[in-house]
């Protein structure tokens, strides 16, 4: 059985906050729920499924309590930042199987106001078996991604300028998104002149830390026909992990190499048919590796693929039109925003950054840490099927 055309995302909401010391994480999630249900033309009483991640070991129960919900389907699978992309697949499977009808997916975080240094602050000691051989060496999140960038440069001659191209185009998109945190245009020179956080990655190769949150409403394709706005049909979904295995892994092969083809096969779409790519951009190298591993270009050709503004919303390969984690928002686990922007683009609601012809969107979330352990979740959405 395939999920193709069985369900749709009918409500989305991106919380406008980027810094919210006056709000709680649960408040951000509740306001986001209100926004997405309003967007869908539904009420809280219609919700019988609830998904979230990043709220503590049994946080989904607390969240149900906070919303005074009694859902019959619950999922708090935590794959890191890709979780919410994966939740759309899980929710769709549950709906298609008749377990529930309408699922609310929520995310909220106050990482910035708590001054949580996501990329450079932790010891990396999470207490799982492999950590014993890693945390002792000071593996920052940015450091692990930097090692992938260093290896890519070594194998393929990818340059710091090419990585910077991604940051520059993404900032251009942010300048067209009033909700984005950073609007001022930047140049390749600006990226290269910013300080090196972990070589070869500069500060402007790294996502920000913000507060924020968002919500999605997923329901059956049948119910979606009655939704307030144009449904974004789920065409394909898949997830994967990559890790250090027994020590023989190729660090440039990321989870997208497995989840991408699987989701696209389910969706019955080719690369050429994808109008917009929403790719988790924790760092510039994350985007380059993901595009290669998804098959939008050959391995090693990512540097040329992202250059000359080709990822621009008005270019040949529109990517990350909301301004991404690099320039719009990154509260720690950004996957939900990939789906929100994808849906807005499919509806034609993206304003100044609207991709002209947008009928198929591919979202790919990366969670955890490339070069260490990470997950990938691919979701293909379409305006029809």
């Amino acid at each position: 059985m395939s999920l193709r055309g069985k369900t749709a995302v009918v409500g989305v909401y991106e919380h406008p906050t980027r810094y919210a010391p006056h709000m709680t994480q649960y408040q951000i999630m509740t306001e986001s729920a209100r926004g997405a249900l309003e967007d869908a033309g539904l009420t809280i009483g219609d919700v019988d499924g609830l998904c979230t991640a990043g709220v503590g070991p049994m946080g989904v129960i607390a969240l149900a309590n906070h919303l005074n919900l009694r859902p019959c389907y619950l999922d708090s699978t935590n794959l890191g930042g890709s979780s919410f992309v994966a939740h759309v697949g899980h929710a769709s499977a549950a709906i298609a199987a008749g377990l529930c009808n309408t699922v609310l997916i929520l995310y909220g975080s106050t990482a910035a106001s708590e001054r949580f240094a996501v990329g450079t602050g932790g010891s990396g000691a999470f207490g799982d078996p492999p950590d014993a051989y890693e945390a002792i060496y000071g593996p920052t999140v940015v450091g692990n991604y930097a090692m992938a960038a260093m290896r890519h440069m070594h194998e393929y001659g990818t340059s710091a300028e090419q990585l910077a191209e991604i940051a520059v185009t993404t900032r251009r998109h942010a300048s067209l998104n009033t909700a984005a945190k950073y609007h001022d245009p930047i140049t390749i020179e600006d990226v290269l002149a910013s300080r090196v956080v972990s070589s070869p990655l500069h500060l402007l190769d790294c996502c920000m830390i913000s507060d924020g949150g968002g919500a999605l409403v997923v329901t059956s394709a049948e119910r979606a026909r009655d939704a307030k706005k144009k449904p974004a049909f789920v065409l394909g979904a898949a997830e994967a992990v990559r890790h250090t295995g027994v020590g023989h892994e190729d660090l440039l092969e990321v989870a997208a190499a497995q989840s991408g083809p699987k989701a696209m096969a389910m969706a019955e779409v080719s690369h050429r048919e994808v109008d917009l790519r929403m790719i988790y951009d924790s760092f510039t190298i994350t985007v380059l590796l993901t595009l290669e591993n998804l098959g939008f270009c050959k391995r090693g050709e990512g540097g040329a693929f992202v250059s000359a503004g080709r990822l621009g919303f008005d270019g040949p390969c529109p990517t990350n039109t909301d301004g991404g984690g690099l320039s719009s928002n990154h509260p720690g686990m950004r996957g939900i925003f990939l789906v929100i922007e994808g849906v807005k683009q499919l509806r034609g609601e993206a304003g100044a950054r609207q991709v002209k012809k947008c009928a198929v969107v591919l979202c790919h979330g990366t969670g955890g840490v490339i070069s260490r352990r990470h997950s990938g979740a691919t979701l293909v959405l379409g305006s029809s099927f």
Partner: protein
């Protein structure tokens, strides 16, 4: 116990890895080799994930390898590491095959390159604990 001045995380010793750290304390680096399917594995585990066999051979590593990739870390707020910036984190590909995360030490950070031959050097934390790191191989 490590001195209270040592602020970095310490390896968590358990029933699957205690032997590995005891060997490190003797300044010996070990890998495991599956006695059933011959897969060499790192990090230490009781069972071979390839064939799920419990039959394990213990393979003393030469301690030699090359830098597979690395980064010079300029920012880390975590205790212990922030006092040692910049430091080099690297994956070293051992001559026996596995790639292991480590620090390249006693080598100027700007001298480190991918492919550079390195050799293991143990940092003694206390009598019962030493951490394997790598330095540029002596000719």
């Amino acid at each position: 116990m490590a001195s209270k001045d040592y602020k970095k995380p310490l390896p968590h010793l358990d029933e699957e890895n205690r032997w590995f750290w005891e060997a490190c304390a003797r300044h010996e680096l070990y890998l495991q080799k599956c006695a059933s399917c011959s897969t060499i594995r790192f990090y230490p585990r009781a069972l071979c994930p390839s064939c799920l066999s419990s039959k394990t051979e213990y393979l003393r590593a030469s301690g030699r390898g090359t830098v597979y990739t690395f980064t010079v870390t300029y920012q880390n707020q975590a205790a212990g590491f922030r006092d040692e910036l910049p430091y080099v984190m690297a994956y070293v590909e051992l001559d026996e095959g596995p790639r292991i995360l480590t620090n390249v030490v006693k080598t100027p950070p700007d001298a480190v390159t991918i492919g550079m031959p390195v050799e293991v050097v143990f940092e003694d934390i206390d009598e019962g604990l030493a951490i394997p790191k790598f330095q540029r191989a002596r000719a």
